[in-house]
Amino acid sequence: MSATNNEGGTEMNFQTIEYYFHEVFLSMIRKRWMTFASIGTVTVSLFVLGVFLILVMNMTKLAASLENQVQISAYLIDGLTAEEQKEIAQTLKDLSTVSKIEYVTKEQALKTLQERLGEQKKILDALGDSNPLPNYFLVTVKNSSDVKRTAEVIADIYGVEEAKYGQDVATNLFELTHLVRVFGIILMLILAMATIFIISNTIRLTVFARRKEIAIMKYVGATDDFIRWPFVLEGILLGLIGGSVSAIILRSFYSAMAEKIYSTLAFFPLIEQFPFLNYLSLCLILAGISIGVLGSTISLKKFLEV
């Protein structure tokens, strides 16, 4: 008995879907400003979400790559004799955790820095002929877990001013990433609530404008699902459009940034554009759709009870 009116098959389903879309587009056009505002809110919220995702993921990657570095830079004090340098080199080679050492003069160091800075090497012109960089040994450690201990030993050698290594920075970076993540999650929750609120209000306007139709639909025996679908669809569409727009903006934003970074800060380990941007887009669109479904479900709960 629950299928009183089921003759019609696929033609009927297509007709119903057509009806839904007709209703949704009609209502979106009728209250175009509200629609525009909702899509705008979704776009902005998801854009912020995207920025945070990009930030957190890149920082995590950077921290991880620093953590995996097995090199220690042992900076030497100025004015050491060749004899003293040889002695330091020998001491370093004798350490059981060290696999390789390389001597880098301050001139070589400056050249490397110039290469890294690329187009921006002009800022080094301010130094004139002076070179503030120290000579150093680049020490490669066999095992990344030995980096910290080895660096401590190296720092105590006579003639070594400082022993720097990536893990040091990595620890700080992980802490910073954690902070950014927590802050991002809190901000996202607030934005998500605001977005859900504005979508549910938009849908509520539609429900209100349609209350007479809904009443008639109920009297003639339309099912709850049939009544509900156009509203849910409207929410989905608002979320989908907002998510897509924010994804498009973020993609061009990231591409432009990546290009800039490759040409000026080539050593920065930015996450490759593809497939990262595809995942990011998918993530934003799915988030938009979920927000749309949530928003419309909330506004329908109150109105469709009989």
């Binding site: 009116n5 003639v220 025996g221």
Partner: protein, 225 residues
């Protein structure tokens, strides 16, 4: 067709007993007037039949369906057995006559071919075929009510419930409407109609059920007001 047994409806909020131990049977094909003052319980009776409200006690069967124990998802299918007509017509202002009638079929997912055939047929019955492209505000009150009747019968319901359908109409128009109801009834559809109009009841000479204070105080074949 309709079977009410010991039906009581108590509104918890204000403590009003709208219906008090009502028993009523209506057979298929009957034309029944429900009369009584406002607040007598007439509209509660209508609401119970369509599961807009549920009774506090008692049993209700419509066309063999147990209305009281109906599951939520079955309610729409119960309502498809009814055609409902209101005093204030309740047409959609932004839809034409044709669209208003077709709407009732669209929303229960009737295939388009069948919609066109059925809508044309019911517009013939109520005599509005030539005004199918008009909007409600271009029609007289009587014409609007005829559109509402067309909408109520287009899904071929077994039962038509009309709540004061002539309450807003002048006497001449009222008889046009009653004439349409008579024809629908002659075609086998059960009609339940509430009214305050003595003249209609007296001239139609059909079954009259009078409700007062939530009780049936009179149930008479070929009755008068």
């Amino acid at each position: 067709m309709i079977h009410l047994k010991n039906v009581t409806k108590l509104y918890q909020k204000n403590g009003v007993v709208a219906l008090d131990d009502v028993n009523l049977d209506i057979a298929a094909g009957e034309f029944v007037f429900i009369v009584g003052t406002s607040g007598s319980g007439k509209s509660t009776l209508m609401k119970l039949l369509m599961h807009e409200e549920t009774p506090t006690m008692g049993e209700i069967f419509v066309n063999g369906r147990d209305v009281v124990r109906l599951q939520r998802k079955e309610i729409p299918y119960l309502r498809r057995e009814f055609g409902v007509i209101f005093q204030d017509f309740r047409l959609l202002e932004d839809k034409t006559v044709y669209e208003n009638v077709a709407f009732a079929m669209q929303v229960i997912e009737t295939p388009r071919k069948i919609i066109q055939r059925s809508v044309d047929a019911v517009l013939d019955i109520v005599g509005l075929r030539e005004k199918s492209k008009h909007f409600p505000d271009q029609l007289s009150g009587g014409e609007q009510q005829r559109v509402a009747i067309a909408r109520a019968i287009v899904n071929d319901p077994k039962l038509v419930i009309a709540d004061e359908p002539t309450g807003n109409l002048d006497p001449a128009t009222t008889w046009d409407i009653m004439d349409i109801f008579k024809r629908i009834n002659d075609a086998g559809t059960t009609i339940i109609m509430t009214t305050h109009d003595r003249d209609i009841v007296n001239r139609m000479k059909r079954r009259v059920v009078e409700i007062e204070g939530g009780k049936i105080v009179r149930d008479q074949q070929r009755g008068r007001y």
